[in-house]
Symmetry: C2
Subunit: 570 residues, 2 copies
């Protein structure tokens, strides 16, 4: 280990990474590789959000710096992503018409508002709310959204203007307009799809055949989508077809101006709900990616730091006049594999993007839109993940149901309704999980002081004495279930019997449960039996002592002690 303990200069109060000089090189090359992917993707995702393409470039400069200042993941690549863009498009549909000044103002509002929500949530340490969307539900949502996106892009590929709405609406508008297909556009789209697929499959090998190695090989491989799109633009110019198909058009040269003023248009506050959903989805997507990265790098992921990082990124995106951003899946994977080990990689990316904006903006204007649509279709197709559903079917039916309901919800009712269904199911899952704590009737392993589940181990038990262990804190949300179990066990006792409650796993207890224990104790007493306690922790004892019945109850230090005391005929 040549590394040294290193405080990142960007955010010295946050980092504690061991970096070697080679990791600086990793950050640099990863930043460059990510920029080459980011150029075509950011243009494409701006179009997906119904915005002028150059806003995608604007969303790829300051937001990366914002994340680097406040975020913590060593390789999360922040910027425009497909899911946030399609959510932006959907949110703005009932508000304005695509690419109008109101539409752009709405997108800026969504970025500023979701940024503010995320940053505030980070300050309030609400990172635990990531549990609002479980992994299978999130996978179902992304899979559904990928179908919606692809259907939408088919319209661009066929030369129609983009329609929104549910899958049924999109599919029917697609079918109705089939006779008005614009053939040059379709041709450009199909050739682009074919070339992109070929590049994905053979680019790495081909460049290797030409004897390329190391960084240059990697750069060219990851730049292959950019090369394909550049090639398409060049071909159209050579074949004198430039006027026939829609292109990106004039890209203003120079850096975006900064404005922190909240744009205003009537009805804009109605977008707040959408901003909340975009923030939630973006956060959950990013934090799950950040966790994967963190595990690979041996770094603990702090969801609250991710919230602050994503919040800063979105506020700066809005201030740049652009739209909501978040951590991208594919670019993050590439970033990590290309050697990124700190948010410095994002700063490098932003620096290269500034060079592109200052020096190469003109070159982007002749990129055909159909090629970008082809890129979106290819990128998004890999987001569909039916394997999560099939795995869940085998291991956990509830997870499978969550995936399917969210996926179908997106297709049938729409993107926002789908995520609402997903949140509902995820919350129900958590509530259900904590309403059914694990409990076991336990007995003593012969010759030891250890107590184990009577159903799993061959253990000693005592006649008319039942030992029960509850493995959860007792509170209003699970007390009914626990009470049912304890009463069932109490019914097996006759007069003189003892119910021993092992609370070794219990570290908190609320009023509902204390009152319930009292009722149980009195019921047992009325039948000539007793409720006693074993292995109580300090805070539980303190709370129970406020209750009158507990002062008269027997408390044993351990189940072993209780076993010895109760084995003599009392």
């Amino acid at each position: 280990m040549n590394g040294r303990v290193y405080k990142n200069w960007l955010a010295p109060w946050r980092y504690d990474l061991k970096l070697s000089p080679s990791s600086w090189a990793g950050d640099f090359s990863a930043g460059l590789v990510v920029t080459l992917m980011l150029i075509p993707q950011s243009l494409a995702y701006a179009l997906l959000a119904g915005l002028p393409a150059h806003l995608g470039l604007y969303a790829s400069v300051l937001p990366l710096l914002g994340y680097a200042l406040f975020g913590r993941s060593p390789a999360l690549a922040v910027g425009p992503v497909a899911i946030a863009s399609v959510m932006t498009f959907n949110a703005l549909q009932s508000f304005a018409s695509p690419a109008s000044p109101e539409w752009i103002a709405g997108a800026i509002f969504l970025a500023l508002a979701s940024g503010a929500i995320l940053f505030l949530a980070g300050l309030l340490r609400l990172g635990f709310l990531a549990a609002l969307l479980s992994h299978p539900v999130m996978s179902g949502f992304i899979s559904g959204a990928s179908v919606v996106i692809i259907l939408g892009q088919l319209q661009t590929l066929l030369g129609f203007s983009l329609q929104g709405g549910s899958v049924a609406i999109q599919a029917s508008s697609l079918l109705q307009s089939l006779d008005s297909v614009h053939l040059p556009t379709l041709g450009v789209g199909l050739v682009s799809v074919a070339l992109l697929l070929l590049a994905r499959r053979y680019a790495s090998r081909t460049f290797a055949l030409f004897g390329l190695r190391g960084l240059l090989h990697e750069l060219l491989t990851k730049a292959s989508p950019l090369l394909v799109i550049g090639f398409m633009a060049l071909s159209l110019w050579v074949l004198e077809l430039s006027g026939q198909v829609a292109t990106v058009g004039a890209v203003p040269s120079g850096l975006p101006g900064l404005s922190f003023a909240l744009p205003y248009a009537s009805g804009m506050t109605a977008l707040l709900g959408s901003a909340l959903l975009i923030a939630l989805v973006g956060f959950v997507e990013s934090v799950s990616m950040a966790r994967t990265i963190g595990r690979r790098c041996g770094v603990v992921t702090d969801p609250n730091a991710e919230l602050r990082g994503l919040g800063a990124a979105n506020i700066l995106s809005g201030a740049s006049g652009a739209f909501p951003v978040t951590g991208g899946l594919s670019r993050s994977v590439v970033n990590l594999e290309a050697g990124a080990r700190s948010p410095m990689a994002g700063v490098i990316s932003a620096a290269f993007m500034i060079i592109v904006l200052l020096g190469f903006a003109d070159m982007l204007s002749s990129i055909p839109l159909a090629s970008l649509a082809a890129l979106i279709v290819i990128s998004v197709a890999s987001l569909f993940d039916g394997r999560v559903f099939l795995d869940a079917l085998r291991f956990d039916r509830a997870d499978a149901l969550g995936w399917l309901a969210t996926f179908s919800g997106v297709l049938v009712f729409g993107v926002e309704q789908g995520i609402a269904i997903g949140v509902t199911l995820s919350v129900a899952n958590v509530l259900w999980r904590q309403s059914r704590p694990h409990m076991a009737v336990i007995g003593r392993l012969s010759g030891t002081e250890h107590f184990r589940n009577v159903q799993r181990h061959n253990v000693e038990t005592l006649k008319n004495v039942v030992f029960v262990r509850v493995d959860a804190n007792l509170f209003f949300g699970n007390w009914d279930y626990i009470a049912n179990f304890l009463e069932g066990q109490a019914r097996t006792l006759t007069s003189g019997g003892v119910l021993v409650l092992n609370l070794s796993s219990v570290s908190d207890i609320d009023t509902t449960a204390i009152e319930g224990l009292e009722a149980l104790s009195e019921k047992l007493k009325s039948e000539g039996a007793r409720l006693v306690f074993a292995e109580l922790k300090g805070p539980i004892t303190d709370k129970l002592l406020r209750s009158h019945f507990f002062k008269e109850s027997t408390v044993y230090l351990s189940c072993h002690q209780a076993f010895e005391a109760l084995r003599q005929p009392s």
Copy 2:
């Protein structure tokens, strides 16, 4: 114990109560007492819902039978209640004008829809969703709603027509109309309030002074609000003021017709959200009352049975042409104290209510509305419970915040917005609770095999060995928190050190946590230390065995065994 095990004939598959002949008498007298309270309350709460008063009587017959067939609580008194009525009024405000045919159809729709939601939730065993509203949040909501109701009733007392909306709107409309106060109405209202307060305070003593004892004394005491209201009606007739103030008006004699047809009017589906909220609040209110009753009677409360009972009650209320009902707080307390020990008490109440409808409907028509408004104000004032807030302030800040936010939400934004805030806060509370499991560094109690928290007990520890116990199932929702704690402990180890993870409280573990343990194990290994396990349960071992790293890990049966094995210099 003279009781015998008794299967209730109403629902033989549900009951297992020990009843003595005296409990039959208890059910009978409780049923009668509750009817005497129910007559004026049901008329008043129908008015509170903006409906003709006699619909309150209709909501007090079949719903009680429906609950008796499917519900389980020995003393929950179902019928019209203030909270459900004010929620009905609020829900219908944007839909129709009070007492219009559309308004009544909307109320029927709300009853049928919330009934169907509740019954279905019961069949799907969704009773655990009671955790959607924590106790302090529910108390804050009810306290806020009581303020809203009282402000609304002040308008009736002053002789205005009822206005809805937020507290600010109500208060301002009240102030604006102060110059048009209707003095006779105000007089009737104030006298009614005074008499009702006097009756509550002195009725019991006064009847005792007259030598009344036992059932008759109790009946007259509980009938005192009815007697006050009857006295007011009689006085108006005697003083020939009947034409001066608004009265209940014609009450149709006879029983309600039955119709299960869903009424239809455009925009009615927009009421579904309100029906869901009414169902949720009614359920949480009832199940918490049922729990209190269950504790007193030594009966376990099954939230799913309560869902089915309340669902049946609401469906039958809608079918009777009436509005949403639920378990009432004050009547349930009276029911329990008057001796109700099975849902038979509700059947008795329904029978008496039928007698009232068939024989005494005419007598109710001259009751002044101002007297009913006075009754509402007096009843609802006791729902305000600031003590919960003050207690929470001392014991649990988060609970206090939940109370205050919900209470203010109801006052500032309205009833439905208030409950939405409450649900959000309750869910956040549960998610937060499960995201921060209890963990402890443990050591051995000298001379025993027991391990306890090093911060609470004087225990033996080993150099460069840390024992950690985690008291929760490991899953994506709490893994970050656990990983942070474990990494913090791992940092205290030097080369050759051992981190012993006691998983005795862990009965489930998901993929996120397994992968996290693997990452931790590898990180420790890279630093020359080790992660070992102790006290694993069967299902955890099974799941971990799918993971490669675990097969190479050391697993000890107990912490004691690990302690003995690791104390020798390795």
